[in-house]
């Protein structure tokens, strides 16, 4: 695949990094989680992205996580990376990650002391204001699921 060569703009290349395209094509932890104790829906009214996030919590630890739904490459890759990241994490830490990640994806001058690991691959969205919502959607759903809110999360 000649992805990188075919894109002439640096910004586009920054958005559709290999890692993103890979997770978009082969999302990890995709499907309904039968053992889920918590769940939330995320809707992006902009483009119709819609995903369900499932969490299996035990004593405030995320034992397992998965997601289903449909979305653009960015939102699917983001959800896939999210599940990869939060499994095994304490809910408090996951909320801290939520804060850090959403800050880093929206805010040019965000503090980068905290290492968001693979999720750095999503930072390209900062140049694409309308795509930031795609990248943060799953994280908002995570937040809702942990807080067990009943209304769908949205990125508006």
């Amino acid at each position: 695949m000649n992805t990188v060569e075919a894109i002439d703009a640096d910004e586009l290349r920054d958005l559709y990094r290999e890692l993103i395209l890979d997770h978009a094509r082969k999302p990890r932890h995709f499907g309904k989680l039968e053992s889920a104790t918590h769940a939330a829906q995320g809707i992006n009214p902009l483009c119709g992205d819609k995903l369900h996030l499932y969490l299996q919590l035990e004593n405030d630890v995320i034992r397992d996580a998965s997601f289903e739904g449909s979305g653009c490459a960015i939102s699917v890759a983001s959800a896939s990376l999210l599940t990869d990241t939060v499994i095994g994490m304490k809910t408090d830490d996951a909320i801290h990650w939520f804060d850090q990640v959403t800050d880093r994806l929206t805010n040019e001058s965000a503090n980068s002391d905290f290492d968001i690991g693979k999720l750095q691959a999503l930072e390209g969205v900062r140049e694409f204001p309308s795509r930031v919502k795609c990248a943060t959607l799953a994280w908002h759903a995570l937040h809702s699921a942990i807080e067990q809110r009943s209304t769908p999360a949205s990125t508006e």
């Binding site: 075919a6 483009c47 119709g48 653009c72 795609c134």
Partner: protein, 413 residues
Amino acid sequence: MSQVQPFTTNALLDVSGDFPVLDQEVHGRPLVYLDSAASAQQPAAVIDTVAAYHRNDHANVHRGVHTLSERATEAYEGARDKIQAFINANSRREIVLTSGTTESINLVAQSYCRPQLKPGNKVLITQLEHHSNFVPWQLVCEQTGADLLIAPIDRRGQLDLERLQELMTEDVFLLAVGHVSNALGTVNPIQDIVGWAKQRDIKVLVDGAQGVPHMAIDVADIGCDFYAFSGHKMFGPTGTGVLYGREALLDDMPPWQGGGDMILEVRLDGTVFNDLPYKFEAGTPNISGVIGLGAAIDYLNAIGMDRIAAHEHVLLEYMMGKLSDVDGVRLIGTAESKTSVQSFMLGDIHPHDLGTILDHQGVAIRTGHHCAMPVMDFFEIPGTARASLAIYNSSDDVDRLIAAVEKARHIFA
């Protein structure tokens, strides 16, 4: 449809120079604007009319004796006359100025239907409708206990006309149907539909948001009871819209909103409402917007709606042919009768990603559900990429679109 029609170039217009916004680069490439179904651009004539109004003539309308107020009133009411003539309404009393199609439809739902609908009554809409011709009916049915019926569509994105007629039973109070689908471009046989409804004594509201910009509209000919449309889709200002309504119906309707201008007399113990159309125009209207809409109509009349329709017909055929020649493209919306809009999918690339990649090549299309989720549900897709045409587009624009789609295909190959 997959065969490209021979190019009848003398049918094509060349007016893009009238639209200042089109003369710019986006991401280093000349802008190709293929999103007029969402909102159309304004010719300089409209922009300048609005600015000149504020530089020379602005004041509140209707209630002033001073010169500016007289000028403003004359310009504002003059625009109403232009609208009346443009859609061939019988009387200026039938032209209610609103903030847009959405408000026009809500007005009918709340002021005409809500007081009359009873449990067991039915409101009939179709699966092609824009949310603005969908949700107001859901709301009023919930409020009154009436039932909402939804006429189905077929795989080409056309109304199933037989089913539609079957659904027109005598307990249907009103049919609300789009003239042209904003998601698919389908042009409904509106005269036939209105005819069937009239035979059964069903009132008809036509959502004309996508009709007015693309063809000559004659409400007398169509025969509908209400016709709703927006200024910003027809090269006029945002925040303006029209509700055409038959005078006899409007006359009997209670006002919707209360406020200045819609009353003759306010007493502590009651109120006498103003005549048509003012009964439905509460508060200070969008004066400069409506004057700008008048200028947009002048502009369209100077070109001629028939020439505009011919131009867009040729371009749409060209675009449909070219698009369907692209590997992996699947056209969504292939009705027999169409105008100005083509939705499509490219392989399993999400439309949103496609939109971003096209934008990076200067090509502006819309992606997503186009406020027509029921249509997306029917096709079992989350959304489409949609290219929509207007008077200022050219075959070059289509060629740029095709090249950009090819590149996207390459990236996600």
